[in-house]
């Protein structure tokens, strides 16, 4: 289909997270199924169209999971479908645990794909350590299908922790919240989530691990954070709470343009101060990730000026570019790479430059 294609193709996994593009839909749900799962080697290999839920259930049955906590943002984007593992890889979609376990691209150890000329390519493999040749895995991950159609992906896994628990700090301003989260993330207590809900003035930090250790660390963390907040409680329902943060539930089901900013955490309070007054926001990654709902048509990039980071427009009726414009030499390299891998410019056109 790719080899003979002349017009644009829109790659579709579950249709739950990527930007919407024009073109004939290339549905990848047929490339489904786990082809290899070795719990003792902490690795799983699956067809790109395999539903994320199937992967997660299979891993959970062995007490394992994808390290990076992929979010489910369908409700946020106002869509319906079943996320696929290929879509997670192509979008480099990582949740709150990114502060500890890093991004999807860091767990992606291998892939197979078909480029724009219809040529099948593999990179990486099924082992955790692999520096053989250029790392095309990283290039493809987060390329949103603009360089090739992922057909198979391999991820490294982690064991599920015995317990998950956390604290809630009450009444902090954005500035106070970011410095409290930064103190937590700079502690040795292996924080696996640090988020702030400005509307509720609630700041959450999460610790996962063996029960005894988690109890000890919660206690230590509470003392450490005492100087940052007058009221600290043990967070109730930590699992549900973090699922809501992961899926950006507080911003779901509302109108406006949805922005996602990945920034240097300590700059977040200033950026928030620069947003329109009626912006609705959520901070994750200790302040390094800002989700913002802004009145339609407001060019947030222009409004904030240069930032230490980048801003993606996740959902909008406007014609602003989805991804931050890049400096000329980087844009030139990216365009040249696309011309190599997708010479007919058929894949997911128009979203990435």
């Amino acid at each position: 289909m790719i080899r003979s294609a002349t017009g644009p193709l829109a790659l579709r996994g579950g249709g739950t997270r990527g930007p919407r593009v024009d073109g004939e839909i290339l549905d990848l749900s047929g490339l489904s199924g786990i082809s290899l799962y070795e719990p003792g080697a902490l690795t799983v290999v699956a067809g790109a169209g395999t539903p994320l839920s199937e992967i997660e259930q299979t891993l959970a049955a062995q007490g394992q999971r994808l390290p990076f906590e992929p979010p489910d943002i369908q409700a946020l984007l106002g869509r319906q479908g079943a996320s696929t593992i290929g879509g997670v890889a192509a979008a480099n979609a990582s949740g709150p645990r990114r502060v500890q376990a890093r991004a999807a691209r860091d767990s992606l150890i291998g892939l197979k794909c078909v480029d724009g000329r219809g040529v099948a390519i593999k990179s990486g493999g099924r082992v955790m350590k692999n520096v053989t040749g250029l790392d095309l895995v990283k290039l493809m991950s987060g390329a949103h299908g603009t360089l090739g159609v992922l057909t198979e992906v391999a991820f490294k896994l982690l064991p599920q922790p015995e317990t998950s628990a956390g604290l809630c700090l009450h009444g902090l301003t954005n500035t106070q919240a970011v410095s409290a989260m930064s103190a937590a993330l700079g502690s040795p207590y292996e924080i696996s989530g640090a988020a702030h809900l400005p509307a509720e003035k609630q700041t959450y930090v999460r610790i996962e691990g063996f029960a005894r250790s988690v109890a000890y660390r919660l206690d230590r963390l509470k003392s450490l954070l005492a100087m940052h907040a007058a009221e600290i409680t043990v967070a109730d329902q930590p699992v549900e709470r973090w699922k809501a943060i992961r899926d950006v539930a507080p911003l779901a089901g509302q109108g406006g343009d949805l922005w996602r900013l990945s920034v240097q955490p300590s700059t977040a309070p200033t950026l928030l101060a620069g947003m329109p007054d009626d912006a609705k926001v959520l901070l994750d990654w200790g302040g390094g990730l800002i989700w913002a709902l802004i009145p339609e048509g407001c060019n947030l990039r222009a409004r904030l000026g240069p930032i230490s980071g980048h801003a993606t427009l996740m959902r909008s009726a406007s014609s602003l570019p989805v991804f931050s414009p890049e400096p000329a030499p980087i844009a030139a390299l990216s365009a040249a790479l696309r011309a190599k891998f997708d010479p007919k410019a058929i894949f997911n056109r128009g979203i990435m430059g």
């Binding site: 350590k129 520096v131 250029l134 390094g288």
Partner: protein
């Protein structure tokens, strides 16, 4: 191992090239005398040597760009170099090249513990990055055994790992941004002190690109808070198979040590003779280190003790003190030194799925007999990254070639069982011609087309990574 023919045109214009370089560089950057050039004739793979045409040791990114511009305009190949500890010949010069060494770029530009990063120039050594943030309670996680000497530049180029990467990942997982210069002199910055890329992850392909795409002069690195504590345990078994099975059980049980190191009998004997670390006399030894709060360490070790107990270990020793921990690690860390005492050796670096461990070790043993060369195995067992050390005698005609053939057979085996040629040392010249064992022509073509984009004239780090036959049409010359 073949290298491409030297380009006579370049050698003949050496005086003009050196003049052009001297004209744009500050005092002392350009090195041209034969005695000093000799210091750059090889890297850690010292079986291959070739003095370069000239060496440059710039002091700024602007000087790096100036050197590249001159070389680009005159069609001169450039070999980037960090500390020269590559074990794959990644920094091996050609006679017609200019070495671009970053050893003078050692500044710390910014330390930011609130945002958990350090911004450094890449000539800085790996260990001194941790040194710069240690007093604030932080460290830089990737810890190659060569960390006293190797530079961040080389770590990024090789995507280096270390004993603790089972938990913390390798260089690419700890790299936030780079400043770099393309072969034509264009300076650019990818990423920075924040997460992920807003566009294509170009930094992701720069890391591990072995100097093929750009010269990296600065880096933003993730730093992490130092753990509360760590404790190793040493467990001996009477067969490789049993030790391998024990590793699988530990991982399956949900324990995640920071390191699981494996040594077989020849390695144990050599290390013990060299370092006197008090290792037991047994067929296979695991050193497992766990980290965290005291409670967590106790919990994890209890689980490990229980799991190991089911495999009838012949020795079990938990560290009881800092000094004891150091002793447990001492033997492992001096493995290369110990081998060096026994003669010349070649260190391999293939990775295999952990489940194939017993099979691969058995096959290596059989091949050792076939090739008539001794081999010792030390490796990172948690992630299947093997380091077979083949002993040979460089003065004995034919021994090096036999050793290389043996090495190639082992690496081919690694690929056959689902693994890869190199887990952390890189391809360099050493594994270049084996690339076609792991990749088919379309895979290689895809990788080479990335080089086409970054370095269209194919002048950066010539004759590395890609099989000479595959790159023949592209290389200048």
């Amino acid at each position: 191992m073949d290298m491409p023919l030297v380009n006579r045109r370049i050698l003949n214009s050496r005086p003009a090239i050196l003049d052009a370089l001297a004209a744009v560089l500050s005092e002392g950057v350009l090195i041209t005398n034969t005695v000093e050039l000799k210091a750059y004739e090889c890297d850690g793979l010292s079986a291959y040597r070739c003095p370069p045409m000239a060496v440059t040791l710039p002091r700024t990114t602007a000087e790096v760009a100036a050197i590249l511009k001159v070389c680009h305009s005159m069609g001169v190949p450039v070999v980037p170099r960090g500390a020269g500890t590559s074990l794959a010949g990644g920094a091996l010069p050609t006679a017609d090249c200019v070495i671009l060494g970053v050893s003078r770029l050692t500044r710390v530009i910014e330390i930011n513990t609130a945002d958990r990063f350090i911004h450094v120039e890449t000539g800085r050594t790996n260990l001194s990055v941790t040194g710069a943030v240690e007093s604030e309670g932080f460290f830089y996680a990737p810890d190659p055994s060569s960390q006293i000497a190797c530079a961040i530049a080389g770590n990024i180029a090789m995507n280096s790992g270390g004993a603790h990467c089972l938990k913390y990942g390798v260089t690419t997982n700890n790299l936030l941004g780079v400043r770099m210069v393309l072969m034509d002199g264009t300076e650019l910055t990818l990423g920075g002190p924040f997460n992920d890329s807003g566009g294509l992850d170009l930094m992701g392909v720069i890391c591990g690109s072995e100097g093929q795409l750009a010269v990296v002069t600065e880096a933003w690195l993730r730093i992490l808070p130092k753990p509360e504590g760590a404790r190793p345990v040493l467990i001996g078994f009477d067969s490789n198979e049993v030790a391998g099975a024990c590793v699988g059980d530990i991982i399956k049980a949900g324990v995640l040590p920071v390191a699981i190191e494996f040594m077989d009998r020849p390695a144990i004997v050599a290390c013990e003779a060299f370092a006197k670390a008090g290792y037991p006399d047994c067929a296979a030894l695991l050193i497992i280190e766990v980290e965290g709060s005291l409670a967590e360490i106790d919990d994890q070790l209890a689980r490990i003790r229980d799991l190991a107990g089911r495999h009838a270990p012949v020795a079990y020793r938990e560290s009881t003190s800092e000094a004891d921990s150091a002793r447990i690690w001492l033997g492992r860390k001096s493995a290369f030194g110990a081998m060096g005492q026994m003669g010349d050796y070649m260190c391999l670096d293939g990775t295999i799925p952990v489940s194939s461990l017993p099979l691969v070790l058995r096959r290596i043993g059989e091949m050792s007999d076939e090739f008539g060369l001794r081999v010792a195995n030390v490796f990172h067992a948690g992630d299947g990254n093997m380091h077979p050390l083949i002993l040979f005698d460089a003065n004995k005609p034919g021994d090096l070639e036999r050793c290389e053939a043996f090495g190639a057979a082992i690496l081919t085996l690694c690929v056959e069982v689902g693994g890869c040629l190199t887990g952390e040392h890189g391809v360099g010249v050493e594994k270049r011609d084996l690339m076609s064992v792991q990749y088919n022509p379309a895979d290689l073509e895809a990788q080479m087309s990335v080089k086409d984009v970054f370095d269209p004239s194919w002048l950066l780090n010539p004759a590395k990574v890609f099989p000479l036959s595959a790159s023949a049409g592209r290389r200048a010359g």
